[in-house]
């Protein structure tokens, strides 16, 4: 007679690891990044390189200060991904120190001060972006119209160096506001919404990203492509993005029906700013989102509702960053009250009994 000797739970390893997950997310970011770099030229390339280097340096420094093994963690991809996300949310021609400061704030203050990867309450990249936005409103809102490579008016290699590192662009007539900024300013000046949108809103340009904006957030199509890739590879689940988009569509649609002269419709809200990018890449962060499906739905809906409120009534034209951080703070509460069913037990915690046992 063979006696079964249990040596472990009935679990199989899926092969998931921190490095693999981070790698897949980075893969999903590649098209967006390449397009952003193509559109905004050498200054964007330098900003990317400097920020990635600063993230790795900050990670190594934090690990050393915390007495953790450096080699094991520094290249697990999380620091590089954080830096990468920061760059994508910056204005493409931001000076080098914006990227470096952002990387250090994200990695040292928002991640390692809380205990490192998996312990942070707030999304590190989002903290960095918000801190930078509050502290340096001028540098952080200097958006510019795309100057693609090979189009003739791209800054050259050396000109790009001077834009990124000496902070004095040789020309200053190219800056232009993003759509949300324009809408907010002009509504304040009493211009009718339909006039603003007819002159500044082109759904086609917004969808492909041929508009002023942050480095990696302009192209809706490429963001959706990256998000779809993450969904197919099961790096993220559908809950947060779907809840965010659905809530935004409902709120913007209703308010637009009530008064189309003041409230932009859902198509404007969805394709502008960082909304879709955040829905797939920021709000789905494992560490700072709830762990259950219902929690994730609530989390996404909360982010979209707060974003809508800030965009319409707040002082800032864009509110995704603040909304994600506010909902991050609510996640521990959600995880306390919404718990997953324990395997083999009912929702109330009783063991499931079968007839034949």
């Amino acid at each position: 007679m063979i006696e079964p000797r249990p040596v472990g739970g009935p679990h199989a390893h899926s092969g998931a690891s921190i490095g693999r997950t981070m790698g897949l997310v980075m893969l999903a970011l590649v098209p967006i990044t390449l397009f952003g770099l193509y559109q905004f030229g050498w200054p964007a390339v330098f900003l990317l390189l400097v920020t990635l280097a600063a993230s790795v340096a900050a990670e190594a420094l934090s690990l050393k200060m915390a007495g953790k093994p450096i080699k094991l963690f520094v290249f697990d991809g999380s620091a590089i991904l954080t830096g990468w996300l920061i760059v994508l949310s910056l204005p493409p021609w931001a000076p080098w120190w914006i990227g470096v400061l952002g990387a250090f704030i994200a990695i040292m203050l928002a991640k390692h001060a809380f205990g490192g990867l998996g312990q942070n309450v707030f999304n590190p990249a989002m903290i960095a972006r918000t801190v930078l936005l509050i502290s340096f409103p001028v540098e952080m809102t200097r958006f510019l119209a795309p100057k693609p490579f090979f189009s003739g008016d791209t800054p050259g290699f050396y000109e790009g160096l001077s834009i990124s590192f000496s902070g004095h662009p040789a020309f200053d007539s190219i800056s232009s506001a993003s759509l949300l900024g324009t809408v907010k300013t002009q509504l304040g000046q009493g211009v009718a919404l339909s006039d603003i949108l007819s002159s500044d809103f082109n759904l086609w340009d917004m969808a492909f990203g041929i508009v002023p904006g942050s480095l990696g957030e302009t192209s809706v199509v490429l963001v959706l492509l990256g998000g779809l890739f993450l969904l197919i590879t099961r790096v993220i689940t559908w809950h947060v993005p779907v809840a965010m988009i659905a809530t935004m569509v409902v709120l913007a649609g209703l308010s637009n029906l009530i008064d189309p002269g003041v409230y932009p419709g859902p198509q404007v809200h969805l394709v502008s700013g960082t909304f879709l990018f955040a829905a797939f890449f920021f709000a789905t962060d494992y560490v700072t989102a709830p762990s259950t499906g219902l929690g994730k739905l609530l989390f996404g809906a909360g982010i979209a509702a707060l974003t809508f409120i800030i965009r319409i009534w707040g002082a800032y034209p864009e509110g995704v960053g603040f909304s994600i951080l506010l909902m991050n703070a609510a996640v521990p509460l959600m995880d306390t009250y919404i718990k997953p069913r324990i395997y083999g037990r009912t929702r109330s915690g009783e063991p499931i009994r079968h007839e034949d046992m």
Binding site: G67, I134, S135, V138
Partner: protein, 231 residues
């Protein structure tokens, strides 16, 4: 009660510091320390109230019944704060406008009631006043340090407007540390206060830990087998 003045000084300024050890008075601390001058102003006002309340509480400690001591202490502190408030309004009016509500709010500063309750009401007059002075200096030290760090990194200056507080002969204190600095607004805003305070607290604990481990090593007799175990 210990009347070793040396011990009172060490406790007040470092070991039992109002902010670093007792974690009291954080609200005014975070609110006014956008500049070192504001910190110094509030620190001095608080120190005056601390010393004077220690004097009055210690003098009256045998008259005040234990059951009503808290209202009595609050009354004493409120009278003193009102006096300081009116004096600053009269003679340091510009600084008074900057510090605003936080001068009257010294009355709710837990540190003052805390010292009255835990030391001045049990000690003789001189030690009580000395304790108040040292606690006040410890608080001022933190206020000025925090204000200085936030001011240097937040706006690139140090002791801006010091002449408002100390008179025009102290113009030399007003320094521009980083010329042409455009400012790091977050550090001037309340989150910057929390972040810098946490860094200062960490630094204080690091210094204490270093000192302690140094003392422990010194206790080990020479020649003993010491193994360092890292966990």
């Amino acid at each position: 009660m210990s009347t070793s003045y040396r011990q009172l000084a060490i406790d007040g300024i470092w070991n039992n510091n109002v902010v670093f050890a007792q974690m009291l008075a954080l609200c005014p601390l975070l609110a006014v320390t956008g500049t070192a001058t504001n910190g110094l102003g509030l620190g001095m006002a608080t120190t005056i109230v601390l010393v004077a309340s220690a004097l009055l509480v210690s003098v009256m400690r045998n008259i005040i019944e234990a059951e009503i001591r808290i209202p009595a202490f609050v009354l004493i502190i409120a009278i003193l704060v009102t006096i300081v408030d009116l004096l600053m309004n009269a003679w340091l009016h510009d600084l008074y406008k900057v510090l605003g509500l936080f001068i009257p709010l010294i009355v709710t500063n837990c540190a003052i009631l805390g010292r009255a309750e835990s030391y001045a009401s049990k000690a003789r007059i001189l030690p009580a006043m000395f304790d108040g002075l040292m606690m006040g200096l410890g608080f001022t030290l933190v206020l000025v340090t925090l204000g200085g760090v936030r001011e240097i990194f937040g706006s690139g200056t140090l002791f801006a407007n010091a002449s408002l507080l100390l008179g025009s002969s102290f113009d030399f204190l007003e320094m521009t540390i980083i010329p042409g600095y455009k400012g790091f607004l977050l550090l001037i805003l309340p989150p910057g206060g929390f972040i810098i305070l946490s860094l200062l607290l960490a630094a204080k604990r690091l210094i204490d830990a270093r000192k302690q481990s140094g003392a422990e090593l010194a206790d080990v007799p020479p020649g003993a087998d010491v193994k360092q175990v890292s966990i």
